[in-house]
Subunit: 198 residues, 4 copies
DNA sequence: ATATAATCGAGACGGTACGTCAGGTCTTGCT
DNA sequence: AGCAAGACCTGACGTACCGTCTCGATTATAT
């Protein structure tokens, strides 16, 4: 994602570009964001963007990366109180909070749709951004599995998809309101399954 | 979605535009499709598009609508052999087939991302395109519920999300390969839930 | 200038079009006047204009024709007090008045430049609009010639051009201010010639 | 007539645009010339035209300017054989030749009518294009005046208008054929005046 | 008085050009 | 060498009009 020799690269320009990008994402519709706009907002020549990023999506992606690296101190962990249902409920509620936060909603939709169209970006996303988070989710489930709260033969990847897939889908496609009621039922249903339990 | 008086509208132009749109969606990346391109491909003046549709997304949407209306004869129904697991497995495999069909993949990604950015479009999608299909899904589950195969207190809407949400999410975000193996495990896990039975 | 059978033609529409045209000429730059604009201002279908006039210039021309026919009662005559210099001075001052009248300046510039580009229109202009006026000018000079105030062998057509040519030229090309001082000197110089007398 | 900083301007583009403009003026009716047409003929982006010229008329004007600057070597001078009538006759015949030359007629009509509608352009024309020529005309007359061939109190500006005004007027408004016979009579009448001598 | 046919208003249509915005490349000095 | 600045060619935007073409709904004779 950064072709030439990084040595002489000016760090201040890089940060200015990524910050300007993220700021713009919050302010205007994604489709209306332009390289020119980013450059002028960042006080940077267009060439400086084209030199270091192959596409607008890549800039957006790096803007998120910068943000997440800034936030992070050490590996991500999901809460583990021993009560899986309670922990999941809490995490999903927090996720909903973030997804509907006006500061992040538009930028995240932008990232999501860029990924949908660009498989290289999708791979980078899977590795750099989603990877650690997904591992944390898997880890929390593994812990529950060890505690006998989940089926032994459960495919943890499928399980992660089963819980978070519906949430992201509903959010991205506006399938309905993201209420706590809904997330709570989602967790319960995923844990118990559709079939009647005795 | 169609502002002026529809009376004098020329049906041949309308069809030409929608057909051209869908054809283009298969050939070139969505972002590179232009109103100008659609108009010239359809042999139509640009104004004729701007007169009847408010945005590129709306045209794309109507192109899908035309397609689905053409295909449909009566209400959509999911197979009902009495064996829910088998039926769902089959339907999901077919869905995967469609989602990865080169003719439809790009157009459907385009539609999905347009919906993600335009809530009006999302509403129209929910009502006109996804609505009947979702009702069919719910109906199949209701039938199973009546047969005692699903929990009595199951929220069918959540159930639908639980099965199809992960699928669409994995497809759209390229979360991994869409193999029959994965869909089969998805169905099984959704039906049984994450918790151990017995 | 009016092709089909004039019998069934609606006179009210014709007048509305010509009036609207002349009004528009006063209000907006000639280049910005459109058939659509005239039609909508006149409350008339575009086809009604296209049916009866071959070009925008022709409509403008007819608008002038209508005006001049309205004004006229009998043939045009220039004043003839017996004092040619005085009469010409007066007439030229009046002409300047008209050429710089804000109600007429723009429309007349429009007509003048249409004529410059369309020789058919120029012929119609020469015959219907300029013709009678030019004949009146010639007649006034002929009268002076009979009175021995002009050279016997004078070509009256050249004489008319010599007096009014410079005026129109200065007006149309904005060669300088059209003051009474200038017109008076023009008349005097034209009458006496450039060469020294005696 | 040239807004931004001229420093970075590409001279090749400028010349291509002006040349293309002049060429087009010879080929097609002025009203049918478009910025788009000029740009494509010149192999230039439209923006490059809009960047440096405010209007189509300004481009046309500069095209003429380029031509006249190319032709010129030093200040313009009218022939001075000592015989004013002969010299003027010759010059007017040459002017007629030029005005009716198929290469220049349409372009010059275009320039003339642009000037008629745009007073800024008219001012630029008066200063840059017509100015030197008019001074040459005045100078020739001044020389004749010194030689006692013209009245001492003659206003040379009026005199210039008296000779060339009728010519341009007849040409632009197609007032009649531009024969040598007519121009010769024009010169004679202007010199002698309308009043009888002796 | 009624049929009948041209004219009318309205405005959709396939086009062309408008003047603007942005994309991505290239060039020019400055640091 | 990287950079800010910005000119350049390209292509698309959304709008305004072009001149043609239906549509009913008036008229104004010609039956």
């Amino acid at each position: 994602m950064t072709p030439p020799n990084t040595a002489r690269r000016r760090e201040t320009s890089r940060r200015a570009i990524l910050t300007a990008t993220f700021d713009l994402l919050q302010e205007v519709e994604y489709a209306k964001i332009s390289i020119e706009g980013i450059a002028s907002r960042a006080g940077v020549g267009k060439q400086t963007i084209y030199r270091w990023w192959p596409s607008k999506g890549a800039v957006v992606f790096d803007a998120f990366l910068m943000l997440s690296e800034g936030a992070e101190g050490g590996p991500v962990r999901l809460p583990d109180s021993g009560d899986l249902a309670a922990d999941l409920t809490m995490v999903l509620r927090a996720t909903v909070e973030e997804l509907t936060d006006p500061r992040y909603e538009q930028p995240m939709r932008a990232l999501a749709t860029e990924i949908a169209h660009d498989s290289e970006l999708a791979a980078a996303y899977a590795e750099r951004l989603d990877g650690p988070l997904r591992e944390a989710k898997r880890e929390r489930l593994r812990s529950a599995q060890r505690a006998g709260q989940l089926a032994d033969d459960l495919d943890l990847d499928v399980a992660v998809d089963l819980i978070w897939g519906p949430l992201f889908q509903r959010w991205l496609h506006r399938g309905g309101p993201l209420t706590t009621d809904w997330t709570d039922r989602l967790v319960a249903t995923a844990l118990d399954g559709l079939r009647p339990r005795r």
